[in-house]
Symmetry: C2
């Protein structure tokens, strides 16, 4: 396809490293220990063309993979991309996808070393990304111990709120709407934050892709611990109050923050006496750290409610599909 | 999705290494220098459900990526998979895909360390594969020198012949038909052969995915050399004679061998005096090596005809789409 040359050309123009044009890319291993992940975005499932530009799709595909590497306490390094496109895709959209991938790759120091372009009836973009742990080993989901503090970076619920704005066609021009949709369309991988948290001694870590309730379930189950989360401590995205008002109270900001997905903040555990150091370290990056609770022996609670009950609720209903 | 657990469970049952169930897989780098490739199979474009089992799709997705690594003179190591499936996909088909991936991964010593499962309207399977060069460096397409012998492993045209059998609904029970369809549905990556060819001193290498005419074009252009190919030396797959008869001479076996794709044989160049050593080395694996021509200063010919003319012809028309 001529599109391949177009894409490779545009990446090369942008100074992004591309593969050798050979059967595979060839480069020195970025470290003695590797991280390896893959995540795809599928049209109609993970994004809709009505409200996503090509740039959005390309950016997010890279960001969600970089977030997985960050969640392991690592820095992203080399990536390959598989792009499946209907033959009717406008070249300008393809240019946008490449441009978004390029911008995100540059943001997190990722070399796009290869790719594959296929025709298909629906659009899909799959990224596979290599990374290297910042520390001697990766930070796993299983490293939490009872008594550890449970913390999150940034604020929660913004991406789900942004999806509600987009899906319901609310006025996107308003400042609060823009803040929310940016969280949905242009997520930020917490790579620099991960480096600081590794140095600060985070014991377990996961990125919040499926929402606090679900991902906290993954982390506590992997670690065989419980949790007690203080609802009032959860850092709810500020613009959700505006959204709740727009929707006549149909949506509860705290609930959105607990079950809304795709914030790509880091959820981590750390010995309680190290929380201040972690907070100070991330403050230099301008990223808040909030202690939201404590790892417990067995019971898993957010507020008075069991984690399982929150998890069952899920956030799918917020998507209005 | 419950399918994820099903797939991970089936891979684990089979003793194939799977990821940690964490945000990314974590493992020691397989070597100081890495190879990295990705290739996807899309329903309706790369395969059709009318004649492909799940096992076929899973096998081929791994094999075509392993072939890319082999073509760089490397051994495949770790892979991640992205599987996009319609929600209506029968579980038995999914089991087949996993089973085919598992069998191919075991065949070439690949650890499937992670994956991503998405819903989509059409089926697609994208693999990203890491590898390690057998030698100190990768064998590139650009290493051919004028005067080198040009050789291929195995025989050519079988996979395209198999596609014709499948697309035209010819009797698949006949021995020759089975031989051809196996070439199309269950390609074999020449990994062991690549190890021998690296040791024998192959200068340039590429796998035959797009067909001899096209891939020879890639290799000679990358190397800035010409080529003279002796048509009568090309190892045409034997069963193509049967197919030509079935189709009343509509199809010429030699033409199919020159422009048919997806044989995944290795096309390589080597100093003329080393051809015998390479042939002897691959004979131990039961794989023929055939010298089909010589790298020249500039002109690119297969028989009396320019490579460009063969390339323009392509093999798409053989696909009957």
């Amino acid at each position: 396809m001529a599109l391949i040359e177009r894409i490779v050309g545009r990446l090369a123009d942008a100074g992004v490293g591309v593969g050798s044009g050979d059967d595979a890319a060839f480069f020195p291993a970025p470290g003695a220990e590797l991280l390896f992940t893959t995540d795809a975005m599928v049209e109609g499932v993970d994004f809709r063309l009505q409200y996503c530009s090509g740039e959005d799709v390309g950016w997010k595909a890279i960001a969600i993979n970089a977030s997985d590497i960050a969640a392991m306490g690592g820095r992203p390094a080399q990536a390959v991309a598989t792009l499946i496109l209907p033959s009717s895709t406008p070249p300008s959209f393809v240019d946008g996808v490449v441009s978004g991938m390029r911008d995100a790759a540059q943001r997190w120091g990722i070399a796009l070393v290869g790719g594959d372009l296929s025709e298909g009836r629906e659009m899909a973009l799959s990224i596979a990304l290599l990374g290297v742990p910042f520390g001697e080993a990766a930070v796993l989901r299983s490293g939490a111990r009872a008594g550890d503090a449970i913390c999150v970076t940034g604020s929660l619920g913004g991406a789900a709120g942004g999806l509600a704005v987009l899906e319901r066609g609310l006025k996107r021009g308003v400042q609060q709407a823009r803040a929310l949709t940016a969280r949905q369309l242009r997520p930020v991988a917490r790579v620099d934050e991960a480096a600081c948290l590794v140095a600060a001694g985070a014991g377990a870590m996961i990125d919040l892709s499926d929402g606090l309730a679900v991902d906290l379930g993954h982390l506590t189950q992997s670690s065989a611990v419980g949790c007690r989360i203080d609802e009032s401590a959860i850092p709810v995205h500020r613009a959700l109050a505006w959204l709740a008002k727009e929707l006549d109270g149909e949506l509860d900001p705290l609930t959105v923050a607990i079950i809304g997905g795709e914030d790509f903040e880091l959820l981590f555990t750390i010995e309680a006496e190290r929380v201040d150091a972690a907070r100070a370290s991330l403050a230099e990056l301008g990223t808040p750290v909030t202690r939201i609770g404590t790892a417990a022996e067995s019971e898993r609670l957010i507020g008075e409610r069991k984690l399982e009950d929150w998890r069952k609720q899920g956030w799918e209903h917020l998507r209005n599909r």
